[in-house]
Subunit: 455 residues, 2 copies
């Protein structure tokens, strides 16, 4: 029965790809308020698309922030399961723009990859779902499952308003299980089931010394330099063995058992130095880089700034220095508690002569893990294997998708992570791209999957 | 005889102040190449002014960078001494511009102070010299001393080309002594002789990890974070007791003897926490803030940057992190050796997983000290005391004026530092200003001084 849908996708492939390029060309950067119109444009694109393929009531649902795209399909009948499909249409900023080889919002195919901001994270993967819905609708006149579509515009800024809505409108989003395609495979064309994700939390540390920038000759030696003070604070949070030295940070963390270590070892990971260009790997003492990224918590400084950044020299002692920090958490760690530990630590180690302000990221999430033996998971694995012609592997990953944890916590339903990205996609970086192989085989996977979950 | 010049200055005070405002309104920011035209405009202003008051051959002298304003006056006769007057017409950048209460290039008088970029450093002080030359010329028809005027446009970017010229055209700049007004007094209306200045050197440290920004979820735990690596490097250079921990940094530094400590203690310094807004002072273990700023070397981070600096969160591991560092040196320290020590140190302590590039500032300078008993110095002190009606104090200061060291090294002539700035001037910061008291009494000082040095 799904043959027809597959044929449809094959025959309409060029047009669908063109449509995806149209979607990707909308610069829906959520972190930057100057892109507010583009955010709306991207949401409108989705609503129109959904309406055209038969989700008649598709609409933009207002939130306190960017609109949520919502649609329902109930044509599969009462006996068919209902799936909540989640994705996001917002994208990361593009800076540093000068490092892009082509315009991030003029999608370009090169060497079998589609280059554009959002091509992998997450517009490309969202679009694949819509195309598969279209294929079923146009060939079968119906979908094998009932669907609730929920595509938000604030994933890259913490999904703040989605959380409110999920919490307050439980009926609207209730379903039998959820499917999300906002992740990746361990290697190109290596079908992968993600059975665990890390949690997430963050703080911003601002160190203030003098109330204005000072001449370093006149005041050097009399007051504390805020950049140096920040250096001391950061250094006190993680040592050179990549061990987080914030008191209590590892409390409650499940140890990484031998079996899980073996599982991690068995899956072919990427070559980290090759993929990143870093001269060597660096991971927590006692763990390999693969073990650390998959199964151990991390603390990373995402940005730092203070004082003079221009050409040449400006001999000042700056007034302030700021660091943005995020942590990726594993099961057993509570993000709110971790934020508090970070704040307590910073306050405690801050040297004299400066004041320190710790701003806590509003939203955070616990880590997520699902049983790999759940039939919804095994059926996904089978669909992947069928489409990609290769055995599916099971992994945990270092990324965080807060919505996964929320759906699990609020609705107690399983979440299936069917991600088609690859390690070379350069998510959040210049030259983001998505392999056309993933585009094609991913859609084939979805065709199989909707069929299997209704068997 | 100098009475007439004083009367002239008094009678023409409003016009002279207006002329200074015209000079200050030219945004001659040397560090920013977009201000190239303004640099030329400021130089032209000086050339025209000098020509109008009788320095007929005043001219812009080409350099590899910004032009030097040069003029000679030989009318005092063969028996009169020749003074090399040095100043600079370039100014610091104005960022952060939003912290200025008035436009930095629309000079405004408020509460007895003239607010503008360059009002104190150094256009205001340069202009006072020109006004005093004018007063003598217009009343006496001549100056008491022969003068070589040398006003450069690259002081704020290291005086790179001046050094070449001073070295290559020794005849042109030869004189009996030099006078520079590019410094300050220990307090407003407290006449001060600066008998020592610090030397200066700097490095920029760039830490590179991955060759592009990475997703912190996917790669966190696998590679070294360049910001954290930079934090470890900075922290290893100065401890929380404000002691520089770079091997060999203090080698050869003259100890601060009891007598000099007493001299420093006796001079009323500024209240550092009040002047800076910092919550507490912080100085080298074993030294007071006053002792450290005046008599001990410093290492300051002037700027730091890496990764995401925008609103909200961007969950990346950045590719690079950079810190700009400058040191202020005391007699006994060689700036080139210090740069090498810094580079060696950074290379040695850099953690694995990153590469480190240390860029050495091209120009640096040794510290400077002059005998306080030199008659050129005591005459300056007497002139100050006369004009300000208060005993002159003798201090060393933490600032650096490379040209002072060069003049001493190349020409073996004494340099008299007749500075009229005050601690509240906010040099290099938003809301730079210069007290009108200093403007008036400073000019009076100069009238006395030119008379005294020819007695």
């Amino acid at each position: 029965m799904s043959e027809q849908a597959l044929t449809y996708l094959n025959e309409h492939r060029d047009r669908l790809l063109e449509k995806l390029r149209e979607f990707l060309s909308i610069p829906s950067v959520s972190t930057d308020s100057s892109h507010k119109d583009d955010i709306n444009k991207a949401a409108d694109f989705l609503v129109t698309y959904l309406q055209n393929i038969g989700f008649e009531e598709a609409m933009k649902q207002d939130t306190a922030g960017h609109p949520l795209v919502y649609a329902e399909y109930n044509g599969a009948g009462k006996d068919a399961p209902t799936v909540l499909f989640y994705g996001h249409y917002d994208v990361q900023p593009v800076d540093p723009i000068n490092l892009w080889d082509s315009d991030p919002f003029q999608p370009e195919v090169r060497d079998g990859r589609l280059y554009a901001r959002g091509s992998s994270d997450d517009k490309g993967q969202v679009f694949m779902h819509l195309a598969v819905f279209e294929a079923y609708m146009k060939t079968e006149g119906k979908l094998p499952v009932n669907v609730k579509v929920c595509i938000e515009g604030e994933e890259e800024i913490g999904s703040e308003n989605l959380y409110e809505i999920l919490n307050n409108k439980k009926d609207q989003f209730a379903a039998d299980f959820a499917v999300i395609s906002d992740s990746g495979m361990v290697a190109k064309n290596q079908p992968t089931i993600l059975y665990g994700l890390k949690g997430f939390t963050g703080v911003e540390i601002e160190v203030t010394g003098p109330d204005h920038d000072l001449h370093s000759g006149i005041y050097g030696g009399a007051i504390r330099n805020p950049i140096m003070a920040l250096g001391h604070i950061l250094t006190s949070m993680k040592n050179e063995e990549e061990v987080v030295t914030v008191d209590g940070f590892y409390d409650g963390v499940e140890p990484l058992g031998d079996e899980e270590r073996k599982l991690i070892e068995e899956v072919q990971g990427e070559n980290y130095t090759e993929a990143t260009g870093a001269p060597a790997t660096a991971s927590e003492k006692g763990y390999t880089a693969k073990e650390h990224t998959q199964g151990r918590p991390t603390l990373e400084v995402n940005g730092v700034f203070g004082g003079y950044q221009g050409e040449g020299t400006k001999t000042i002692i700056p007034s302030t220095a700021t660091a943005k920090i995020t942590c990726r958490l594993v099961p057993g760690q509570d993000p709110v508690r971790i934020q508090q530990l970070l704040e307590d630590h910073v306050k405690q180690v801050a040297p004299s002569g400066v004041t320190v302000d710790v701003k806590k990221e509003k939203l955070s999430a616990k880590a997520y893990k699902v049983e790999p033996t759940n039939p919804l998971i095994t059926k996904a694995a089978d669909s992947l294997t069928e489409a990609f012609g290769k055995e599916t592997v099971y992994v945990r990953m270092g990324g965080s998708i807060p919505v996964v944890e929320w759906i699990e916590a609020i609705y107690k339903m399983p979440v299936v992570l069917l991600g088609f990205g690859t390690p070379e996609d350069r998510l959040h970086s210049p030259n983001e791209s998505f392999p056309l192989d993933s585009f094609d085989k991913g859609m084939e996977t979805l065709v199989h999957y909707w069929q299997k979950v209704n068997d």
